[in-house]
Symmetry: C2
Subunit: 186 residues, 2 copies
Amino acid sequence: MTNACLPIGLPGWAAAYDDTAAHVAGDEARLRLAIELARLNVEYGTGGPFGAAIFEQASGRLVAIGVNSVLRLGNSVMHAEMMAIMRAQKGRASHTLREPAHALYASCEPCAMCLGGILWSGVRRLVCGAPAAAARAIGFDEGPVYPESYHYIEQAGIEVRRGLLADEAEAVVRRYRERGGVIYNA
Amino acid sequence: MTNACLPIGLPGWAAAYDDTAAHVAGDEARLRLAIELARLNVEYGTGGPFGAAIFEQASGRLVAIGVNSVLRLGNSVMHAEMMAIMRAQKGRASHTLREPAHALYASCEPCAMCLGGILWSGVRRLVCGAPAAAARAIGFDEGPVYPESYHYIEQAGIEVRRGLLADEAEAVVRRYRERGGVIYNA
């Protein structure tokens, strides 16, 4: 499969949200999109309770979205953040989102893989909703993420804002457990 | 691009190594394949000096290979390890490589993203060649990886063996600098 292609398609319901002509101003409104994607991913049963969205910082243009798709796409890399990064880079035909400056909004604090992936993506800003503890509380492993990990990515030039809209973001994570969602990485 | 596909094709020269009928016994011989892939990726100018290979532990069957393809594929996630994981899971049509047990061989110690990605992949064993310091020495950032990060993945049940064939693995990393290879994440 030398010339293989890997599916990174969104679930059908998400097409309506994948509007790269949309412009959204402000951290709260942008993060609310990521949380809404997480909520719908749970309600439609299409994956874990995590959503992400990448915007151009200055213009507010929506560049890409992602929802947790590990089970749906049979790919352990397909966390919401990684999906959004790969879709954004595909859209730009570039391995970096450095110019113009982009920001990534994640409904929940990223796991170890995604925190590293965000560092390499070129985004300049990370805004998260629910704490990683919310994911751990329902049984998800978040991997080796430490306070130093956040210091590291801030030192590398990424602005980080955590805990915004945490209550509504955390409610989505809890809702996944209530619906009996699979903990695929425990 | 709701139904989008993401290219995960190997460079043309690598097709000859992508033989999923091959069987290889022993850590050294398996790691040597990962190092050879890294070396050829440098010599052919198709990417960074990093290679990876995933084998079924018991049978020694080669399941998937990967080479650093960040610039070639325009995708910051496409480190050798992540490519091998995604190709292996695609081949098995499953988000986990847990059964039967698989081992991942990496020509250089994984960056923060790949270490997390390895944890979620389901592989039970990680064998690495060059130390992360070798990549840092030529200017690559490895991200937030700490001694605790390795303890964490070992606690999670992954056997780790580091520093095997370190000299030849490190020589490939140095060769990349000699050839003027691009440091795409500095």
